[in-house]
């Protein structure tokens, strides 16, 4: 890979200095320069006013909206939880009907998981990361905004359904056949609405991973990165491998709901167990996706409370990464009672026990840090202490239910309800509360009331235990989950009543917290700049608030720069470090290398726009209309969404800089290129990461195919047709040729052979269209009827998946062609070509695997 020609006009090396010497950093900046830089930055990063406020894309605004929306959905789901508890307070209660009860517990779980826990992690990370990394903003601000608008549209749609009494009612894991056969549109709302939100989650994961890898401040090598960054990296990676199986599952499920393709219908060769597998391959890592970012907050609070660096940095990294791996080997422990071979259960039971080791290591590292430091029991630390107590209890019951024989007894009882709430409250809610108290001065420049906070803590802590401790016993006494009432003779009355009382105590804690969180703070004095005396970079923030993120991007040489690097805040304020001004009034941030964080690019990031909201609204339409089987408007919306995204990319990304502005003087005698392509650019990394998730979803579909083969004797059914070999082979060949063409175009364009590259760019989409049509014909022309049996259905599904991807690829190839024709892509500025070629590497892989799976495998089997 040669990146040489992207840097035309690069200054001779001798002019560039990196790393900066101490002497350079000590040189004072004259106050006029400081002031001018500050004014330029203020002007460049100002938040739009009035109605246009909605167009803001800055991480501080989007993060705030995200967090508040997730909090709102959490309160809604909490109210549902309370209503459930009211219904169960006494035996034989008729406060809720059975159906409404089903809707409420389904939505309580779904909303807590999809509308609160995961989005809250994304929200907090979007708010925090630039601060932690001394960056101006995330690398793709508009993508964050797009993700937020998708989330809010999908969230309101899914949550709103409960007001119309049509909410999903088959439980948050939507097991078929209950959910496939359920009347009404509840299941469709769940499938489509939440798939839509999953897309937003993946967008956020891409943003956060690239942010951590590429937007660290100069000098912050990977061994100096704040632990929060490590956790974000691991969780982002987990999202990429965990969410796609669910998206694939949703895709199959919705095909069954809408078109009667029998993926989960055993009478026509389907198998409901496939859904359980796909759901829990997502669902168990999901637990850790929720847990790790919250424990990451603990990893920030604990060193501050102990006033010393964390003990065992490498050990915590190990436990985060180790948990990330092991958490993918646990999914069947949700399926111990489904009759799988006991040897298989054994593997999952063993892995479930093994995951305790890394989880335990990080808790011990925290305890060790507290033991060797001088602990100040401040409010955040109080919540962390509560979290450790509750989570440990939940972890211990987890060890119990990870043993298959115990689980056979406790499965689907209130024991499980108690266990999961202990892990989620201890592993997520309490650390999150700690985080809110800890970071509130960073987010808002004001503080939350300490005394109220302590009352909130005790209400929550006591109320939580009063609610859920008795559930262990109600469970062991045999009370099943999800029953809307029970007779008095069972002896569960008192325990249930206690749980209900506890639930109201917890709720009062949350109400008090919400009041303190949201009450106007106009007259309250501003918070101190570093109120907890922390050592990490986010506490160099400006009070009163400035929107520029970091006044100047510092050079970092330590894990706790505010403790260990003298004068760093003064120097940042003076604009002594990088990017201290914004002469062209362009929003910029630094891009650095993955391992050693050497600065390599001054990235121009995108600013406020309506187009992201429009794109999200149309994407919403494409997902929401199919709920009501209104396909024409859905297709229109899908087209409009694609058009919006193309407009957004064309007008705002990979812009070629003006001739004399190819290099930007970022200060401290360093000039960096403004444009980058290939692995040097953040866009390339974004595509790479997105496509990794996409490939996982495709792998899940292929897994489905082989799952049927393993689980069903009649797969493929005797004497059935197969996909037509001729058209399929030709189709795959044409698509591979299209990949070769785009690859060739990239290489030739870089060599300056623009005319040849253009002709390849004309050939590529033509080949792709021909290939897609042949691929389609090989299945559609074979007489395979998708509603007749699961074998044709899965072949159709794989075919649809493939040609949707090649179709996207055609649009991208045309985009590149237009780029070379209209001067957006040149031999020196070819990042669009790099990114599209990368996309096509994945498409090529998909096409070949799909061809082998539907063409070759059935003939071999």
């Amino acid at each position: 890979m040669t990146m040489a020609s992207t840097l035309t006009g690069s200054a001779p090396d001798s002019e560039n200095v990196y790393p900066p010497t101490e002497e350079m950093l000590a040189r004072p900046v004259d106050s006029e320069t400081t002031q001018r830089g500050a004014e330029e930055l203020r002007e460049t990063w100002k938040t739009p006013k009035g109605f246009r406020y909605l167009t803001a894309v800055n991480n501080s605004e989007v993060g705030k909206w995200y967090a508040l929306s997730a909090f709102f959905f959490m309160m809604c789901a909490g109210v549902l939880g309370l209503l459930i508890r009211v219904q169960l307070a006494v035996p034989g209660n008729d406060f809720l009907s059975a159906d409404r009860f089903n809707q409420f517990f389904t939505m309580h779980g779904s909303a807590m998981m999809f509308l609160f826990a995961v989005p809250m992690f994304e929200a907090i990370s979007i708010l925090l990361l630039p601060g932690l990394l001394g960056a101006r903003d995330m690398p793709f601000p508009r993508l964050s905004a797009y993700g937020f608008w998708c989330f809010i549209i999908g969230g309101v749609f899914v949550m709103g359904s409960i007001l119309f009494g049509v909410a999903p009612n088959s439980g948050w894991f939507m097991y078929p056949p209950l959910a496939t056969e359920a009347d009404g549109i509840g299941s469709d709302i769940w499938l489509l609405g939440l798939s839509f939100i999953e897309v937003a989650s993946i967008a956020a994961a891409v943003e956060l991973i690239v942010g951590v890898l590429k937007c660290r401040p100069p000098g912050m090598r990977i061994n100096l990165m704040p632990l929060y960054g490590w956790y974000v990296l691991v969780v982002g990676g987990m999202i990429l491998f965990a969410f796609p199986p669910l998206i694939a599952g949703d895709f199959l499920f919705e095909l069954q709901r809408s078109f009667d393709w029998p993926f989960f219908d055993p009478e026509r060769g389907g198998d409901p167990m496939l859904w359980q597998h796909l759901f829990w391959i997502f669902g168990h890592p999901e637990v850790y996706i929720i847990f790790l970012p919250s424990i990451a907050i603990a990893a920030m609070v604990v060193p501050t409370a102990a006033q010393r660096p964390i003990v065992g940095y490498s050990w915590i990294v190990l436990s985060a990464v180790g948990t990330g791996f092991l958490s993918f080997g646990l999914w069947v422990h949700h399926m111990f009672t489904t009759g799988l071979p006991s040897m298989s259960l054994g593997f999952f039971s063993a892995a479930s026990e093994a995951v305790v080791i890394p989880t335990g290591i990080q808790l011990f590292a925290f305890v060790a840090t507290l033991m060797v430091g001088r602990v100040k029991m401040n409010l955040p630390m109080l919540f962390i202490a509560g979290a450790l107590a509750i989570f440990t209890a939940g972890g211990l019951t987890g060890v119990m239910v990870a043993l298959a024989p115990f689980d056979w007894q406790a499965h689907d009882t209130y024991f499980i309800v108690a266990h999961l709430h202990y892990t989620l409250f201890g592993g997520m809610v309490f650390p999150l509360m700690a985080g809110v108290y800890y970071f509130y001065p960073f987010f808002t420049k004001k503080t939350l009331a300490d005394r109220t906070g302590r009352i909130v803590f005790w209400l929550m802590f006591v109320g939580f235990n009063v609610t859920f401790m008795p559930m262990h016993f109600t469970g062991l006494m045999g009370m099943p989950r999800r029953v809307y009432t029970y007779p008095s003779v069972m002896g569960w009355d008192l325990l249930n009543l206690i749980s209900t009382i506890g639930a109201f105590i917890v709720a009062s804690g949350f109400v008090l917290f919400a009041i303190d969180l949201l009450r106007p703070r106009g007259k309250q004095p501003l918070a101190a700049r570093n109120p907890w005396k922390a050592g990490t970079l986010e506490w160099s923030h400006n009070v009163p608030e400035e929107n520029w993120g970091s006044r100047s991007v510092p050079y970092i040489t330590s894990r706790y720069p505010l403790w260990e690097q003298e004068n760093i805040v003064e120097r940042m304020d003076a604009g002594r470090y990088y990017l201290a001004d914004a002469p062209g009034h362009r929003r910029e941030t630094l891009v650095t290398t993955v391992l050693d964080a050497r600065p390599i690019q001054c990235l121009r990031v995108t600013g406020p726009a309506w187009i992201t909201i429009l794109a999200a609204a149309f994407t919403g339409g494409a997902f929401i209309f199919p709920t009501f089987h209104w396909y024409p408007p859905a297709i229109l919306c899908g087209g409009a969404a694609i058009a919006c995204v193309i407009y957004w990319l064309w007008t705002a990304t990979s812009q070629i800089p003006e001739k004399e502005k190819e290099m930007r003087d970022v200060g401290l005698s360093l000039k960096l290129p403004v444009y980058a392509s290939g692995p040097d650019s953040v866009g390339w990394w974004g595509v790479w990461i997105t496509m990794l998730g996409d490939a996982t979803a495709f792998a899940s579909l292929v897994f489905g195919y082989f799952f049927y083969w393993t689980a069903r004797p009649d797969f493929p059914p005797a004497g059935i047709e197969h996909a037509l070999a001729g058209p399929l082979t030709l189709g795959v060949a044409a698509l591979v040729a299209s990949w070769a063409a785009i690859y060739g175009a990239r290489v030739l364009n870089r060599q300056g052979k623009v005319a040849t590259a253009r002709s390849l760019l004309v050939a590529a989409p033509l080949l792709a269209v021909v290939g897609s049509v042949l691929f389609y014909v090989s299945v559609a022309g074979s007489g395979l009827e998708p509603t007749s049996h699961v074998y044709p259905a899965i072949i159709w599904a794989v075919m649809i998946w493939t040609i949707v991807h090649t179709g996207g690829g055609v649009i991208m190839q045309c985009y590149c062609l237009a780029g070379t024709l209209f001067g957006k892509v040149t031999p020196e500025h070819d990042s669009d070509l790099w990114n599209v070629t990368l996309y096509w590497h994945f498409v090529c892989l998909t096409v070949v695997v799909a061809g082998l799976t539907i063409g070759l495998m059935p003939r071999v089997m």
Partner: protein, 135 residues
């Protein structure tokens, strides 16, 4: 130098590609071992569940796979131990802004991950050792 820029990312990655990969190797071996155990068992139990000879073969084969996995992880662990180079300077904190610290840190983290993965593989293979039938 950052300014030499040209293929900075490619260069650093090439230098450190080994240690970057190293950090994922042990966990990946665990994952592959886990998948092989799960898939092989699922297929054999579904297709030849009643056949005692097939299950014995399965158990022996998985035992072999386990040994291979353990040797692989041990090798990764040894490589990371060398990279950590602990006995050289007794450094286990790696908090300095030096190439050496970054290099040793990646070795250290990867060494610890090898231990976890080693234990994980042993755990996962216990059912093969003890269970004699699919049910």
């Amino acid at each position: 130098m950052a300014g030499t820029g040209k293929n900075e990312e490619t260069k650093t990655l090439a230098e450190e590609a080994d240690s970057l990969w190293l950090i994922t190797f042990a966990g990946s071996i665990w994952a592959v071992h886990f998948l092989v155990c799960y898939c092989a068992t699922a297929v054999i139990c579904a297709k030849l569940g009643g056949d005692a000879a097939a299950i014995l073969m399965l158990r022996l084969a998985l035992g072999g796979v386990t040994l291979v996995a353990l040797v692989g992880i041990a090798f990764v662990g040894w490589r990371s131990w060398l990279q950590w180079d602990f006995l050289d300077d007794w450094d286990y904190v790696h908090n300095l802004a030096r190439k050496e610290d970054r290099h040793e840190f990646l070795g250290h983290a990867s060494f610890l991950l090898s231990i976890i993965s080693f234990i994980g593989v042993i755990y996962v293979s216990l059912p093969v050792l003890f269970l004699e039938t699919c049910q």
